[in-house]
């Protein structure tokens, strides 16, 4: 039981940390100064969520690991984030599509998690829900601007949607951990989110004059620690300091 809650919380923490890491790579390199600031905001929200979730996971585990040990001292096969969040930034359209898919899921997810029987998760969810609403608005507005902008931006935005679409199936995966926690009233059954998620994407894509791909074949593996090739590089960069200088205070 404790171990299910630990695994579940850790997966949420990993999603937030890895997406925050990716978004942070934009800082200073975005298409406009406003977006340098906007994407940094989104990154900061995710890092904040990761901190709360890792700290709670460490508490649940009870082995004395803190947020940084969980984030910086686990190996690639131990990370349980979904593959979507680790996908490289690509061009701005890919970053926006990744965020749109994720935030369209996370907004209803956090909203439902506020009703969790686990009070800590419910409290983290209440804060994260407000943040996700902003992330969805930000990525949705950009999807529409790019989709209904120029011929080039439309083509890039459509390509980004097609490229990342196969990574969305994993958001809805249910394994024993999720099943048991749903039965206990702690976790969210992702199936209860699917309609809202799909409706959000359809509304945005319609306005953006873009096409949502058919469901089709989906990627899988992140939740059980089978990641993309690029993920090891992300970790080696993110974890560099803690690996090179073990056991020091910063």
């Amino acid at each position: 039981m404790t171990s299910d809650l630990f695994t579940y919380t850790l997966r949420l923490a990993d999603d937030a940390a890895i997406l925050g890491q990716r978004l942070g790579e934009w800082c200073g390199h975005a298409p406009t100064l406003e977006e340098d600031i906007g994407l940094a905001n989104v990154a900061l929200d995710h890092i904040g969520q990761a901190r709360n979730l890792y700290s709670y996971a460490g508490e649940v585990e009870g082995a004395g690991r803190d947020e940084d040990q969980l984030c910086f001292l686990r190996k690639e096969r131990e990370f349980g984030n979904c593959l979507l969040v680790e996908q490289p930034n690509g061009d701005f359209a890919q970053t926006i599509a990744r965020q749109l898919f994720f935030s369209a899921f996370m907004l209803p997810f956090w909203r439902k998690l506020t009703g969790s029987r686990d009070e800590t998760l419910a409290a983290i969810a209440a804060k994260a829900e407000k943040e996700a609403a902003y992330h969805l608005r930000h990525s949705g507005e950009w999807t529409i601007r790019l989709g209904d902008g120029t011929a080039e931006s439309r083509a890039r935005m459509q390509d980004a949607i097609d490229l990342l679409w196969p990574y969305t199936g994993e958001l809805f995966e249910v394994d024993g951990v999720v099943e048991r926690l749903v039965a206990d009233g702690i976790a969210v059954d992702p199936e209860t989110i699917r309609d809202e998620w799909h409706a959000t994407l359809r509304r945005v894509c319609d306005e953006a004059t873009l096409t949502l791909p058919p469901v089709g074949w989906m990627q899988s593996g992140g939740r059980s620690g089978r990641h993309s090739e690029s993920f090891g590089h992300l970790l080696s960069e993110m974890q560099y300091m803690q690996r090179a200088y073990p056991g020091m205070r910063w």
Binding site: G24, C27, H29, P31, E35, I37, A43, E152, R249
Partner: protein
């Protein structure tokens, strides 16, 4: 301020100005009144401000790069969040400053163009590399520290929009400065190896930080006119001395050695005396030959070029929307 007072002065800008207006303007400045964008001002005053404010804005923007270099490698989540927020603040400073410059009739696009073409200057400090995590602390402590020394008097600058921007910016810069110092304090207390890393960062950032105040007063062309216009309140050397006096004890508190064997405290004056700055290095970096000048400009150019299609899309979309609204209104009539 990261302007280092370098470009040639351009007071002799065209037509002779009406002596009465100039005198009335100077009287307002002397009375510590704020000059607002729609007020009459001498052309030289306007040009000096555009140059100074835009150089300051460019410095904030280019300054995001050396620190941004460590966001992905910050050692803890707390430090990662703090660094990201700091770099984001610098972007915000760039935005307010571009807006302040725009009140003087120059567009952000023009200013960006000047930066990317290499025509506009930015502070020489950002042409040095961030090699270790300690550099992030050193930048907060020294670079933001030097910026504050320069900027606090600018909060009283005669030009209203600049002075108001500086009041807001200074609050954030002093937060950055304390945060950087606290980061270093944690490191020097944690281990000998980290303390060495901090000393190494100080060795590399000390002299470039002193150069942030610009040429020595004997070589600075701007000071007198800028002082009379109350754009500047202290000379470069005065500000540099204030910075040294404030910073040396802070270095000692960290247990560090300032990399200057001429450094000594003068009991009579109460000031720290320091060695000669390597002005050749300064001029070389300003002229484009510092360790990172090319990389910094290339990174800004790349971001600008890579983002062109996004900016074009945003413009195309807002035009389409306006057209549709217009069409809908006609249909309704």
């Amino acid at each position: 301020m990261y302007t280092q007072a370098l470009n040639a002065r351009d007071t002799e800008a065209g037509a002779v100005e009406d002596a009465d207006r100039v005198a009335a303007f100077q009287a307002r400045v002397d009375a510590e009144e704020k000059i607002e964008p729609n007020d009459w001002m001498p052309e030289g005053y306007r040009k000096t401000l555009v140059r100074q404010i835009s150089q300051h804005a460019h410095s904030e923007i280019v300054g995001m790069l050396p620190e941004g270099n460590w966001i992905s490698r910050a050692p803890t989540l707390k430090r990662k969040a703090a660094l990201l927020a700091k770099v984001q603040d610098e972007g915000g400073h760039g935005l307010y400053l571009y807006s302040a410059a725009e009140t003087l009739g120059v567009s952000r696009e023009e200013l960006t163009e000047q930066l990317l073409s290499g025509k506009a200057k930015y502070s020489s400090i950002f042409n040095y590399p961030t090699l270790t995590w300690a550099d992030i602390g050193a930048i907060g402590w020294l670079v933001d520290g030097a910026a504050i020394m320069n900027q606090i008097p600018l909060c009283r600058c005669s030009f209203g929009p600049y002075s108001r921007a500086m009041i807001r910016v200074c609050k954030e810069e002093s937060f950055h400065q304390r945060q950087g110092y606290e980061l270093l304090l944690e490191m020097v207390r944690s281990s000998e190896e980290q303390k060495e890393m901090v000393q190494d960062a100080l060795n590399r950032w000390w002299w470039p930080s002193l150069m942030m105040f610009g040429p020595s007063d004997t070589d600075s062309q701007h000071s007198a006119q800028s002082m009379a216009w109350k754009i500047k309140r202290f000379t470069n050397d005065e500000l540099r001395q204030k910075f040294v006096d404030a910073t040396v004890p802070q270095a000692h508190y960290l247990g560090l050695t300032i990399p200057d064997d001429k450094l000594s405290f003068n009991e009579a004056t109460g000031h720290w005396e320091f060695g000669e700055i390597d002005w050749d290095e300064f001029m070389r970096v300003i002229a484009g030959n510092g360790p990172c000048n090319r990389e910094r400009l290339a990174a800004r150019k790349k971001a600008h070029a890579d983002g062109a299609w996004v900016r074009e899309a945003a413009i195309a979309y807002s035009r389409k929307r306006a057209d549709r609204r217009e069409a809908a209104r006609h249909a309704a009539e």
